[in-house]
Symmetry: C2
Subunit: 319 residues, 2 copies
């Protein structure tokens, strides 16, 4: 099992490269939910998502070999940008496998950091076949976007920051895809030993973690498309699933039409740009019933890489 001490190592390793992300009090959400609600703004990192944490830690853990051979990864877009950026900063050459239906916006943002892009067919299996083939052909170390100890430990640093920023126990709502983010946060809070509770949120069309938790083992969801293009892992990773299952986390689901709500709310009320996957916990919260309590609720705003034209469309619908 993954040693929570790794999370402290990750924090120390990435500290010279990444400042803690801001925690913003949301008065409108607090009023709505009848409890203090805080936003953990992972969207404000350079490259626009929490993925810079595992990108830096993954590279720093194997820096000598990465500098010699380069690094390989596969990503729906946010990890791609993060690895491309961290690799450039650490003087490593990066190769990234991306689905050919990746948004041109995320693609351009990745290329801007000088990474080599290899395209694959637009489904889960093709992505991993291409990635593993390249890994074998080139003998290059692979940075997994969500299912390794390094990735999960690096994601757990978010929880360490929160424990200091809030200085009291809290509930936290986390966007879920492959389970790396909820896994890291759960592991850190479990090790902290307090009464913090972790909840996941997924697009209803890709309820991979929710269904896997019901089944008791990792299941694959077939054939879906979602506006939350950062939450497309069709099956939870082994490690993330195990930690999430052990912590008996509840995962709630958001329908496609409701995914715009969170994006629109953050733009209007907080002047923040978030992508559908990044704002999914806000979308869920806006549809939930208030639970009056003084216990703080933290919403992880995990990413802001929405295509400008998509955001423009949502803004035009604001009265």
């Amino acid at each position: 099992m993954l040693d929570p001490q790794r999370i402290h190592e990750a924090r120390e390793a990435i500290a010279p490269y990444l400042a803690p992300s801001p925690l913003l009090y949301s008065e409108p959400l607090s009023r709505l939910c009848k409890r203090p609600v805080w936003l953990k703004l992972e969207s404000l990192h350079l490259t626009g998502s929490f993925k810079v944490r595992p990108a830096f830690f993954g590279l720093l853990r194997n820096l000598a070999i990465c500098r010699q051979r380069g690094v390989l990864t596969s990503s729906s877009g946010n990890f791609a940008q993060a690895v491309a950026y961290a690799a450039q900063r650490l003087d490593v050459s990066a190769c990234i496998v991306m689905r050919e239906d990746t948004s041109p916006f995320k693609l351009a943002r990745t290329q801007q950091w000088g990474a080599e892009i290899v395209f694959c067919a637009p489904h889960h299996q093709a992505r991993w076949e291409t990635t593993h083939r390249l890994q074998e052909e080139r003998g290059v170390p692979l940075l997994h976007p969500y299912d390794t100890a390094e990735t999960i430990a690096a994601n757990g640093t978010i929880a360490l920051e929160l424990l200091e920023q809030l200085d009291q126990d809290f509930d936290i709502w986390v966007p879920v895809s492959g389970g790396g983010l909820i896994g890291g946060i759960s592991l850190a809070l479990e090790a902290h030993g307090g009464s913090c509770r972790v909840y996941g949120v997924q697009p209803a069309v890709n309820a991979s973690m929710a269904r896997s938790l019901e089944a008791g083992y990792p299941l694959t969801v077939e054939h879906f498309t979602t506006r939350a293009d950062a939450l497309v892992a069709a099956m939870p990773g082994t490690l993330g699933f195990a930690i999430t299952k052990r912590n008996a986390a509840v995962v709630s689901l958001v329908e496609e039409e409701a995914l715009d709500l969170g994006v629109s709310f953050l733009a209007q009320e907080h002047k923040l740009i978030a992508e559908h996957g990044g704002a999914i916990a806000i979308s869920a919260l806006l549809q939930s019933s208030p639970m009056p309590t003084s216990r703080p609720l933290v919403i992880v705003v995990s990413g802001g890489n929405i295509a400008p034209t998509t955001l423009a469309k949502i803004l035009q619908e604001i009265p």
Copy 2:
């Protein structure tokens, strides 16, 4: 002359209502300018601008009489929202004079906080005639949007936060309209006694402070319209002008077409929504030449109240 001690009083008074705004390191701007650049995110306050600082302090300084008689102000939009919100929170009824050409977006956001709106003709003189007439008729205390000791002291709290957040001397670029913001920041830094330098930025079409500094006394600019609809004071306030003149601040000017640059940059690179006036110092910076130095540069992002349709138009032009 205004006693800088007032700024510390203001900070203590507003502390229970407003958290310090986040200070975000901008790696892309630092790279571009060859010096560390930081963004002071006043846009992240509730109501989307720094104006909540003077709104709260103005009301708190006269709370008993404001609760009895209400409060009156005039605003191009941001101070209106801030006073409406602070008044609601402090149980005061607010009446706000707004030009009839105020953006419907800022108007709706003000009405949402329950303030009474009185419209006036769309020019500087009408605004103040209407305001002073109402003040006389109703015997209600007036909160001036930029030219009182309270307003300037409250704006100065931004500089106190920065001195703690950065812990070293810095240069700072500040959007300028009536001179209340640059006045408050200059006063605080002057009292601090270090080597911090303050620079102003105005829309070229309303170079009221720049021209007044040249002339040596406050001048009025006639007939202009600007995308930076928060920067429309056609003449600097007496107090703000005096402090700015004493500190020999330089004011640079941004042409209308270039005002979109800052808005677009903050959206793309930092996932932040800013209005034209709020991002004007970024627009100026993007057009300036790099000045390699290790001395930090702070950019005040003063507000985020851009109409959604205007932002949508700018986003659609991003490649």
